[in-house]
Subunit: 209 residues, 2 copies
DNA sequence: GCGAGGACATACTGCCGAGTATGTTCGCCT
DNA sequence: AGGCGAACATACTCGGCAGTATGTCCTCGC
């Protein structure tokens, strides 16, 4: 064919390309509005390629979703354990979370999007199982924030608030970043970090002791 | 027929019922996934009824969207002008906004949902015009928050922050309520007000002087 | 008491999109 | 050197959904 022309060596991430394109499409048009052909077009390919790597449209979405959580856990979740008071650790978590929202926006928006699919959808038995698993992952990530709030109340670095409610208001504020943020042309990582700091400063004020 | 059996007098809000059913469906399954038959089923009727009141699916959604903003402006926006410092007025606005999220959840969730349709969709000329108008309404509502933040910096009741950024983090936190909130059985208005107060207390902390 | 129109229901059409079945090309192993 | 399987492309099927065309009932004005 024409596609594999100058393609070097093996390709362990040809699948990865499909995943990224899907995330982008799902973000732009939403899950239902995105056709498999759309994803293929975004790759300059045809459905054949997409279906070769993913069995169905739901499973493709699930993989996008899973990737989004893994990124969050790896980048932000790890800061739950670390030096300093609970407030310090929360600050690092929130900061990393916000940076994820900005730098892996396509994946992260589908994360917030997929929750509805869980709450109201009527999936098949197999899909329901994967959805449960993904929701558990998500819940696990949220629990890290709950624990931090509890720890903050304990070590005196933060106000004594309902951890679940505090988690929700905080995550609401910083998840929203993925909704309104769009990168300026020529924007640098440093600039994003500055912005993240600013957001953290505003948002955390209500929780600190 | 069978529908108009015990139906009293005139019906100025038969259309309203369709609108509410549509909001509910759009919230549950999302815009694209909702068929006109779904909306009709939710009413115990057929497409005929829906298409009698609304010309097309997009226009139906637009009306839901418009209603959502009108509610917000009427309930929360009005508190921009009022007694007290900017901080006090912001508090009342946020409180009312949160109550809207809880009590007209179906409409409000479509509000946050419709923005994507604007940013990435490819609507017809007529739809584009309506979308622009609706986005202006939304922007106008957001501007009220921007002005409050500016006023707060001026009258010393709040920190001097970037009004746009502050608006976004605040609205993120309180819009998110519509995502996670689901009413407890037997829940009363008083309980919701209590919850709203609690959220406001947490969220506003970062902005006050 | 009758014609007109509002408020739907019923019965269609046409298209679009998920999924499938079947090539086709290349690299690799033996 | 030939067969095999990965990695796609091409060409279909088939169901579902937006929109329409048409019929039906009830009510209100006259």
């Amino acid at each position: 064919m024409q596609a594999t022309a100058a393609n070097d060596l093996v390709s362990p991430d040809r699948r990865e390309e499909v995943l990224a394109a899907a995330a982008e499409c799902f973000m732009r048009r939403g899950y239902e509005a995105t056709s498999m052909d759309d994803v293929a077009d975004a790759l300059g390919a045809t459905k054949g390629r997409v279906y070769h790597h993913f069995r169905s449209k739901p499973e493709l979405f699930f993989e996008v979703f899973r990737r989004a959580i893994f990124i969050l856990i790896r980048e932000a979740g790890v800061h739950e354990t670390g030096p300093g008071h609970a407030a310090d650790r929360l600050r690092r978590m929130a900061r990393a979370h916000i940076l994820c929202m900005m730098e892996t926006q396509a994946f992260q928006r589908n994360l917030t999007l997929g929750v509805d699919l869980y709450r109201f959808g009527e999936p098949t038995a197999e899909h329901k199982a994967t959805l449960e698993e993904l929701m558990d992952l998500r819940r696990g990530y949220e629990d890290a924030f709950r624990r931090i709030f509890a720890a903050g109340a304990a070590d005196g670095s933060m106000k004594a608030l309902d951890p679940s409610l505090a988690m929700r208001t905080l995550l609401g504020a910083i998840n929203w970043v993925a909704v309104w943020y769009s990168p300026r042309p020529g924007e640098t990582r440093t600039h994003r970090e500055k912005l993240a700091e600013e957001i953290v400063a505003q948002v955390l004020g209500g929780y600190l002791a």
